[in-house]
């Protein structure tokens, strides 16, 4: 069950875990998003309390670099409803100078944050004391040139732009364009295009709101720009379709260029078919030739040139298919799992229940189930593959479906863009694993 990689078999080892140890999870600490930056130097997490945490890598370890409150809870007076401060998505901008920029969004508002380091401070002002008080001009007898002196590293996060009031519905995705000037934000019914410099205007590029809300049967679930073609983006829906749009065709991209949809398997049809076909995440491969979608039970890889069906399908937890009614009753069937590619697009990863996560090696046609748990958290401890027993005799070390803990779900995972380092978020803990070879 080991995934072979360059230089032999890959073995995943525990590296670090962040977060509270006890089981009493504070609502605000629930991790809601995880994202590496383009170099992998920084790892950002967002939580339900609206906080962003950035961890830089130092000797293969990630430590807190900065923590800041990105969003505050708000109250929508018009609807008398609270707007959660939960961070739904974080996306890093490609680095252009010494500072780092990221976009962070809650349900309604996107913010651009600048994260910069300060390790020097000015000293020796003529008109000001060290503490900032102004000197009496009459007391100044000589002039000096202020100098910059070293200081302890301070990381500052400052909001540079606030993109607000453009979304009636809850934002589920943001995606930075490869042109580094624009980005899109998607809510349940609309997708807007922004310029990073302009906050008082956005262009609506997709609108699937029906004239009569009675007729609403489908919502947008995720959207992403193509990593290389700045005119292309995709969005997925609750009915299991993915639409690829070309912004050069029209200002309003309601008409798709391509529609990706797999015909339903009639032998599997049930009242839950639509719900489990709803796509919770869509991600382009790094090379831009494929895209991956996650629905409730599977991960599918699509060739952008073939709309009729995916080229690869991986079952994440097929043993849940017979439990769909229970999962509907306790709402687990609506859990939105994310998925991610590794750096060279050869392996994909997604989460599951019981703090399990799954990796699928596309080339080797092998897959593995691993677990993020405190019990397996000794330094450099190799993760043992896990197996779920769907029925019949349970072998030793297997877990039966009925013993799975459906409260322990891994919704967010991220893979370092170059190395075999992964970040896996359980409810309120962030686990970092790396390949032993590292």
């Amino acid at each position: 069950h080991l995934l072979p990689g360059p230089g032999g078999d890959m073995q995943w080892c525990f590296s670090q875990v962040k977060g509270a140890i006890d089981d009493d999870v504070a609502e605000a600490d629930i991790i809601s998003t995880v994202e590496f930056n383009q170099t992998g130097e920084l790892l950002a997490t967002g939580d339900k309390g609206g906080r962003n945490k950035n961890q830089p890598q130092f000797r293969s370890e990630y430590n807190v670099y900065s923590t800041f409150q990105s969003h505050e809870p708000e109250f929508d007076y018009l609807k008398s409803l609270e707007i959660e401060e939960k961070i739904n998505k974080i996306r890093w901008l490609p680095q252009k100078n010494a500072a780092h920029f990221l976009l962070s969004t809650n349900d309604k508002t996107i913010k651009l944050w600048k994260i910069s380091e300060r390790d020097k401070r000015p000293d020796g002002y003529n008109l000001k004391e060290d503490d900032g008080r102004y000197k009496d001009p009459n007391s100044i007898t000589s002039l000096r040139v202020p100098v910059l002196i070293p200081m302890d590293l301070m990381v500052e996060a400052s909001p540079r732009r606030v993109f607000a009031n453009a979304h009636t519905y809850h934002i589920n995705s943001i995606s930075v364009n490869s042109d580094n000037e624009t980005y899109l934000s998607a809510d349940d019914l609309r997708i807007n295009l922004w310029h990073l410099e302009i906050t008082d205007r956005s262009f609506n590029i997709v609108d699937i709101k029906p004239a009569n809300m009675e007729d609403l049967t489908e919502v947008i679930t995720a959207a992403e720009f193509h990593p290389l073609q700045c005119n292309t983006f995709v969005y997925s829906s609750s009915k299991g379709t993915i639409r690829l749009c070309d912004m050069r065709n029209a200002a309003l991209c309601d008409k798709h260029s391509k529609l990706f949809e797999e015909p339903e398997d009639p032998s599997n049809r049930s009242f839950f078919s639509e719900i489990i076909s709803s796509i919770s995440d869509v991600k382009f491969s790094h090379n831009g030739r494929y895209m991956m979608t996650r629905d409730y039970l599977s991960v599918k890889i699509w060739d952008l040139n073939m709309e009729t069906r995916p080229v690869e399908t991986y079952q994440v937890h097929e043993y849940l298919r017979s439990k769909l009614c229970s999962l509907y009753e306790n709402d687990c069937i609506f859990d939105k799992f994310e998925c991610c590619w590794n750096g060279d697009d050869s392996v994909v990863m997604t989460g599951s229940y019981n703090n399990f996560f799954r990796m699928f090696d596309r080339g080797q046609h092998r897959d593995v189930t691993l677990e993020a748990s405190r019990e397996n958290s000794k330094p450099l401890q190799v993760l043992k593959p896990r197996k779920v027993c769907a029925g019949g005799k349970r072998k030793k070390d297997e877990i039966s479906v009925d013993s799975l803990d459906f409260n322990k779900k891994i919704l967010h995972t991220a893979w370092h863009p170059q190395d075999n380092i992964i970040a896996v978020a359980t409810t309120n803990n962030l686990y970092i694993f790396q390949d032993k070879v590292n």
Partner: protein, 330 residues
């Protein structure tokens, strides 16, 4: 633990003959057999081989339970935070699917006729915990409209008489449930939940920035509010602000039918085994692995946090417990 509506053992274990009002049993069996031989739907196909009457009845019962559960879900998403539109849409689509299938195999018509003929006692929970207001027959008749597909229709401020109207040839109205005396205590549940959390009035305000939603509401609203409910209306308006934001509801027209013990039987004994609901409704046929125990119970015996105890569930369950207490108490 989940709502007690769910717990029972499966069809094969006990006769289902008393589940349906007298006089309609045979009709249902026929239509049930028809549905069984239809075969193009996975679950029907899988049951057509075995004793058609028993299994099909069980399937219908479980389908009804799924319908009830879906309606409860749509209603119970009255939180301070806006409900999840995607989830609501998916649940509403599920309800529509069930309704379509029930309409096709004639079950819907039978059920509506039974309900129309029976009286829903004002203090009983019938079928679902969906609430509706009593309307007097005059205003109910007044509001008669052409049947529409089971869908969400705008809920306007102050309007709290609900009706479910069906598509096509089914002209009768369905009374899904009533719990009117209790509704005072549960202001947020006194409207049938609009799943999408946004009233057209609110959207217009967002988009156009003008405040003429009141007039728009009045044009669309059903004229089903009886005089006696003026006081209630204000109470509702104040308490059910989430109801106001609800752009759609499942409207239930309630013609105050007389009580019928058969009707009570129809809806009171809704508790299929959880496991079998899973297998039947997910179109898979496999031998029961857990016997008569329902899935939730067996899971909860394994550990503290399993299928049954998600935190989202808990608040819903508390509300359901509250509802059940009230029913049992009265």
């Amino acid at each position: 633990m989940g709502p007690t509506l769910w717990c029972t053992d499966v069809a094969a274990q006990r006769p289902r003959g008393n589940m349906f009002p007298k006089g309609t049993k045979r009709k249902f069996s026929d239509s049930g057999e028809e549905a069984g031989s239809n075969g193009d739907q996975g679950q029907a196909a899988s049951t057509s081989v075995a004793a058609p009457r028993t299994l099909t009845s069980s399937y219908s019962l479980q389908r009804q339970s799924l319908l009830d559960m879906s309606l409860i879900k749509l209603q119970l998403c009255h939180m301070l935070v806006e409900p999840n539109l995607c989830r609501s849409v998916l649940i509403a689509n599920t309800v529509r699917q069930i309704q379509e299938e029930m309409t096709q195999d004639g079950t819907w018509q039978i059920m509506t006729q039974a309900l129309a003929a029976a009286q829903c006692p004002s203090d009983r929970l019938v079928a679902t915990e969906v609430l509706c207001r009593q309307t007097d027959p005059a205003t109910a008749a007044q509001a008669g409209q052409s049947p529409k597909p089971f869908s969400v229709v705008g809920l306007e401020e102050g309007y709290h008489s609900e009706e479910v109207v069906m598509e096509g040839e089914v002209e009768t109205e369905v009374t899904m449930s009533t719990l009117s005396p209790v509704s005072q205590q549960m202001p947020s549940a006194s409207y049938l939940a609009g799943p999408f959390g946004m009233g057209p009035c609110w959207e217009e305000e967002d988009e156009d920035g003008d405040g003429e939603d009141e007039d728009d509401d009045e044009e669309d609203s059903e004229e089903c509010v009886s005089e006696g409910e003026e006081g209630d209306r204000d109470h509702l308006r104040a308490d059910s602000r989430t109801g106001e934001q609800v752009f759609g509801t499942f409207e239930i027209k309630h013609p105050v039918p007389p009580a019928d013990p058969a009707l009570e039987e129809l809806f009171s004994d809704v508790d299929p085994s959880y496991y079998d609901l899973d297998t039947v409704l997910t179109g898979m046929q496999s031998s029961p692995k857990m016997g008569p125990y329902d899935l939730l119970e067996s899971l909860s015996s394994h550990g503290p946090t399993t299928l049954s105890s998600s935190s989202t569930c808990r608040s819903d369950l508390n509300e359901l417990d509250h509802i059940m207490e009230i029913i049992v108490g009265s």
